[in-house]
């Protein structure tokens, strides 16, 4: 059996390179209506008057929806199942508009062109309300309002989490050195190449079918049911191929509207956002401002740390309630610090809402802590690698927040192997060169979770059935977001049953046929779903052996499977194919199939250390990342090339976070300035350094074939590693991301 640690190309590669894969916008549907939304042009207002008459008169316009004629049910788009709690402050068309880009109305027409034209005829008059655009202002407002009677939801923190262990104050008092920093991270956008899109249509029995590129069909079903006020059973949700998500399509933004339009108009309806709409009216990574103080001994031992994070969640809560805690969790799973105090507060602002985004708070909190740690090392005059090695956790240490073990945590191996591979010691001590272009090296460590345990009911149910042609049907709500997770899962099943991974057919991801699943989020695909399908395959194998032992008259313990056939010991002449077994079961009106539910009972850490070398043009402030090494503790790489692809993509995103990406809210009016690719800069091919990848494969006992997650963590350490390298090159302490040429020049010539 040799399907693990092989780089099988993604299963749907042919469809993707031939242009045959049918994305949501590519579907041809009879009688499809097209929607065009109108968005608030002011940051905070009530609608005084809306005039839709001219738009309604346009031939081909079928319906116009707005606050006055749609359900005002409140919901929270980040909720995944009944019983999960978070403030419900979203409505399809709110009466109070909370940010530029908030939804005012929608025109539904026979064609997109008609809808686009009609929507421009709608006139909206606003009654403006005061607005806040940054977390500091929001905090001050909340403090002001604390003593007032007025307590609208908008005027108090979304959430506040603190935790404390040890005695931070006392440790600060006896420290040799305390280094403090304020690190700011920007609001950034997912920039999946496919814009947000959704289709909904009435089915013959009156239910609504929603076709949507999403991360969880059940979350879509739940949120839409809530928003439009129908039982979930009235909604059927099917995931379509997804052109990238990165968390951006984790929350149903368009689905409630689309479903309501289809239900009301009794026609199929699509909403397809433009790039500018995707930028300004979906979700972002939240902005974080971290004030962090680290207390150390002269010998580099961290005694205590105090971290205070202000989180700007934007105009709606969505997952903002979870962010302070998830940042805390990420902060405390990587260094042994006996005394820690943390406070995280999230605030509303009149800016577009934040939501899930690859790493969920982790890139921000790691930027805060890892940039500060380099500053500490600099102040101590200590090699930042040696400083970190004095403080990093070891395998099987315990997460102080949850009290759970961290598993086979191999961050030390990452740092040690990486620093050798990168020749860190020499390159770091060489320092920066004289002249216009200065070089520097930087590194950063990171950790991330594996699934949702113990937070939510972390489980996956899979059904495997042997077909009469010997292949397998897998029924499970597996949302492959394009990262190749289905390919990895096929390899795991193939390894157990020794069949070709290409013979496995994945079911539609459809609420009608799949058991409940949290979907693709929280780095749970390989670790949770992988273990679930492995166990299902193992159980199926027992069933196959039980049957085959009767058919072949052979003890089950002597049976083995090779290449889709069951053999009895060394009797090569006595065998039966899986397909024949399935056929014989079918003759008995039974199927050769099994269903298994896997419930997680651990949440080990994935770890990474990234090393970067930059060259900074001190004349222009331009930064080039000239060398890069990513070292990852992922237990085992089921598909090494897919793993590398995840890491390269993560570095691309993290590098953008460090250097370019910022949706850039206009502080005067709350407008999103970075609303297109010519103003919101992604790292492109020429900018991308040659990223080297080193994998630490030390086997995580709770993961399938020892595997842990890699997808999210890959995007966490690049930003602090690159910023640290810039600070090393220039002997600066830049802490505001993105580190743009203007900020670099500002730091180099403070005289202004």
């Amino acid at each position: 059996m040799n399907h693990i640690s092989t780089s099988l190309p993604i299963l749907d590669g042919y469809d993707k390179v031939s242009g045959r894969l049918c994305f949501t916008e590519d579907m041809k549907l009879e009688g499809l209506l097209h929607a065009k939304l109108i968005f608030s042009s002011v940051a905070h207002a009530t609608i005084k008057h809306i005039d839709i008459e001219a738009a309604r008169a346009v031939p081909g316009v079928i319906g116009i929806f707005h606050h006055g004629n749609t359900p005002g049910n409140t919901y929270n788009s980040t909720i995944w199942f009944e019983g999960q709690e978070a403030p419900e402050d979203e409505t399809m068309f709110p009466g109070v508009l909370r940010h530029i880009g908030d939804r005012v109305a929608a025109v539904i027409a026979e064609t997109q062109e008609i809808a686009d034209k009609a929507v421009r005829l709608i006139e909206v008059e606003y009654d403006r309300l005061p607005a806040v655009f940054d977390a500091f202002a929001a905090r001050d407002l909340c403090e002001e309002m604390a003593s007032s009677d007025q307590k609208s939801i908008f005027e108090k923190p979304v959430n506040e989490t603190t935790f404390d262990y040890g005695n931070t104050r006392a440790a600060f008092d006896r420290a040799d050195l305390i280094v403090e920093d304020t690190v700011t991270t920007p609001k950034t956008h997912h920039c999946a190449m496919e814009n947000h899109v959704c289709v909904a249509m009435p089915e013959a029995d009156g239910r609504i079918l929603i076709l949507t590129p999403c991360q969880s069909i059940f979350a879509v079903q739940f949120v839409v049911a809530r928003a439009i006020g129908v039982p979930a059973s009235q909604l059927r949700v099917v995931k379509t191929p997804i052109g990238g998500s990165f968390g951006g399509k984790a929350e149903p933004v368009l689905d409630p509207l689309c479903a309501w339009f289809a239900k009301t108009l009794e026609r199929p309806v699509t909403i397809a956002f433009s790039r500018a709409e995707t930028f300004t009216a979906t979700r972002t990574r939240c902005k974080a401002i971290g004030y962090i103080q680290t207390a150390v001994n002269r010998d580099g031992r961290i005694l205590a740390r105090d971290t205070d994070v202000l989180i700007d969640v934007g105009a709606y809560c969505t997952g903002g309630i979870f962010l302070p805690e998830s940042m805390a969790q990420r902060l405390c799973r990587i260094y042994n610090i006996e005394n820690q105090h943390y406070r995280g507060r999230s605030f509303y602002t009149n800016t577009l809402p934040s939501g899930a985004y690859r790493g969920y708070g982790s890139p921000q909190i790691h930027a805060i802590s890892e940039i500060n740690l380099d500053h500490v090392a600099r102040r101590l005059g200590m090699d930042p690698v040696k400083f970190r090695l004095k403080n990093l956790i070891s395998p099987n240490d315990v997460d102080p927040v949850t009290g759970l073990g961290l598993g086979n945590a191999r961050i030390r191996d990452c740092v040690e192997q990486g620093s050798v591979h990168f020749d860190w010691g020499n390159r770091w001590s060489a320092g920066s060169t004289e002249g216009r272009r200065k070089r520097g090296v930087g590194m950063a460590c990171a950790t991330h979770i594996n699934g949702c345990f113990p937070g939510f009911h972390e489980a996956t149910t899979a059904t495997l059935r042997v077909r009469e042609d010997g292949g397998l049907d897998l029924t499970c709500a597996l949302h492959d977001l394009g990262c190749g997770s289905n390919t990895v899962l096929a390899q795991i099943i193939a390894e157990v049953l020794d069949i070709s991974p290409l013979s496995i057919v994945f079911s539609e991801v459809d609420t009608e046929i799949c058991d409940y699943d949290l979907g693709t989020r929280a780095s749970r695909m390989t670790y949770i779903a992988g273990e679930a399908v492995r166990r299902t395959a193992e159980k199926l194998k027992l069933q196959i052996f039980a049957m085959a032992s009767l058919e072949l008259n052979c003890a089950a313990t002597d049976l083995f499977i090779t290449d889709g056939r069951v053999f009895c010991g060394d009797r090569r002449d006595s065998s039966i194919s899986l397909g024949e077994l399935a056929a014989r079961e079918a003759d008995r009106d039974r199927s050769l199939s099994t269903t298994e539910t896997y419930r997680a009972s651990a949440n080990p850490g994935s770890y990474a250390a990234h090393f970067a070398e930059v060259e900074v043009d001190t004349l222009t402030g331009a930064v080039q990342v000239v060398d890069y090494l990513a070292v990852h503790d992922l237990g085992r790489a089921i598909n090494p090339q897919l793993v590398e692809g995840q890491i390269h993509g993560g570095v691309q995103m993290g590098m953008g976070f460090a250097l370019f990406e910022d949706i850039d809210i206009d502080v005067d009016n709350g407008r999103v300035k970075g609303d297109r690719f010519s103003r919101y800069h992604l790292v492109n091919a020429p900018e991308m350094p040659l990223v080297k990848v080193l994998l630490v494969e030390k086997h995580e006992p709770t993961g399938p074939y020892g595997a842990k997650a890699v997808g999210e963590i890959a995007t966490i350490p690049p930003a602090p590693a690159i910023v640290n390298a810039i600070n090393h090159a220039l002997d600066t302490n830049l802490t505001e991301l993105p580190v743009t040429p203007e900020r670099i020049i500002g730091a180099l010539s403070p005289t202004g």
């Binding site: 190309p9 790039r275 272009r437 090339q641 900018e687």
Partner: protein
């Protein structure tokens, strides 16, 4: 009604076009249901819609990757079109470009993939042995959010070596294209809009006099956006791309003459041997698909205050030749621009050619582009400086700036103040102050006004450091810590 004629997958297509500003991408996706080409931004920034267009270039076929989202359908007339659906063999087997992408994991979510495939196809046919820099340039117009590009670059390398080469029937295609060639221009006079594609300069001049309210269309990299993004309606369009005289490049004793329909790619290739100092800026100017479609004439005529070619061209005393009917006139490029998006052209007048004088002796020239991302980003500031010294005194200086005013602009006061002065530290310090006084830039998302002012003054200082008599610094040795202003 005249049909638009082109070759698709080796077959001649003749279509009646109802709206001449319908984009090629709309036609492909909606009319032909060839939905492999994707819309990711509809403004030529992401490359998900990239297709390949082939046309004769002398005796050879030239392949150009372009953004279908901003190409108007009728501009396809007389050309051959390839989309991602064109590649697969009849038996379903993949083209080497596609197979290499599968084998090297170059596709993850797959949404950007067809666009990448087409950029790679143009590279495959145009360049049999690309360097890494060539590959980067070929991929520069395609964004991917999944792969970090590495696997795609690997796929580019291996598409030549690991698979049997697939050639097109170029001879046959050339013959087909010759049959489509038009001796006279064609017009589509439709309810939605009028579209004219003259083939001679005389035809064009006459047409534009008749229809002075028509929109002149060259590469469409700006005009396309007016339609797709601003939903502007263009009642009449005159397309320059087929006018033979405007596609010419002349290089002679009089300098370089670049016809108004010459693409940026070809214009830059012509200019750089004479003015190598522009090489770096030109390489960073837009993506390959945009340079392949956009024209130098269009860039100049549009006159965006943040366009990069104007400062460079102004610094070397470029002139524009305008034409109205059978009247020609020439003016200095800087005189073309009056105010934000306003120029000196009269009704019915258009740019015929851009005339770059021959390089003068002892010219000290630099062009600096400052932006957030190094490659293909719109400039915060673009500055070009051209200097001649008489001994150590300034005998001639031209300073031209982008991003500093409502138009691309020379700095006459500062230039005047420098004439005859000794080219030394104190002169330049004074000139830096003068530059800061002479311009009042805006703050926007690309840069603050303060940064623009300071950076521009510092660029003058940098120019000085790189040109000071006797001790000019190599450009890699210029040190910001020496700049204290």
């Amino acid at each position: 009604m005249t049909a638009v004629r082109f070759i698709l997958d080796g077959e001649r297509i003749e279509i009646e076009v109802a709206d001449p500003t319908r984009t090629l991408l709309q036609y492909l996706r909606e009319d032909l249901r060839r939905v492999g080409s994707k819309e990711g931004c509809a403004e030529g920034d992401c490359g998900a819609c990239t297709v390949v267009i082939a046309e004769p270039d002398g005796d050879a076929l030239r392949y150009r990757a372009v953004n279908a989202c901003i190409q108007f359908l009728p501009t396809l007339d007389g050309k051959a079109l390839f989309t991602v659906e064109s590649l697969k063999a009849a038996d379903g087997s993949l083209h080497p470009v596609q197979q290499s992408m599968v084998d090297h994991h170059g596709s993850q979510c797959g949404f950007c993939t067809p666009g990448f495939i087409m950029s790679m196809l143009a590279l495959y046919h145009n360049n049999p042995a690309p360097t890494r820099a060539d590959i980067d340039d070929a991929l520069s117009g395609n964004l991917c959010r999944c792969t970090g590009y590495r696997s795609i670059v690997d796929a580019c390398r291996h598409m030549y070596t690991d698979y049997a080469r697939v050639e097109l029937d170029e001879v046959g295609l050339m013959a087909e294209l010759r049959e489509l060639r038009r001796d006279r221009g064609f017009s589509l006079e439709l309810e939605a809009a009028h579209y004219h594609a003259p083939v001679t300069l005389a035809e064009l001049a006459e047409l534009y006099l008749e229809h002075p309210d028509a929109q002149i269309l060259a590469g469409g990299t700006d005009v396309g956006l007016w339609v797709t993004k601003q939903l502007r309606e263009l009642p009449a369009v005159i397309y320059l791309g087929n006018v033979a005289e405007l596609r010419r490049i002349g290089v002679g004793a009089e300098g370089i003459e670049i016809g108004a329909a010459v693409t940026l790619t070809d214009a830059f290739d012509t200019i750089v041997p004479h003015y190598p100092e522009f090489g770096e800026m030109f390489r960073r100017f837009a993506s390959l698909p945009v340079r392949n479609a956009g024209t130098l004439g269009g860039n100049v005529a549009n006159g965006s205050p943040i366009g990069d070619s104007m400062p460079a061209l102004m610094a070397v005393a470029t002139r524009v030749r305008l034409r109205r009917g059978d009247q020609q006139r020439e003016m200095a490029l800087e005189d073309l621009y009056l105010d934000y998006m306003k120029n000196a052209m009269q009704e019915g007048e258009f740019i015929e050619a851009i005339v770059i004088p021959p390089r003068v002796d002892a010219l000290l020239l630099r062009c600096y582009k400052l932006c957030k991302r190094y490659d293909q980003d719109i400039s915060a500031v673009c500055a070009a400086f051209a200097l001649r010294l008489d001994g150590e005194r300034v005998s001639e200086i031209r300073i031209a700036l982008g991003g500093m005013a409502a138009i691309p602009k020379r700095a006459p006061q500062t230039e005047q103040s420098l004439l005859g002065k000794h080219w030394d530290e104190s002169t330049v310090r004074t000139a830096m102050d003068s530059l800061r006084r002479e311009f009042t830039p805006l703050s926007d998302m690309r840069a603050s006004a303060g940064y623009r002012s300071r950076a521009t003054a510092n660029l003058l200082y940098r120019f000085y450091l790189e040109t000071r008599p006797g001790q000019a610094l190599d450009n890699t040795a210029v040190n910001v810590f020496a700049v204290t202003a």
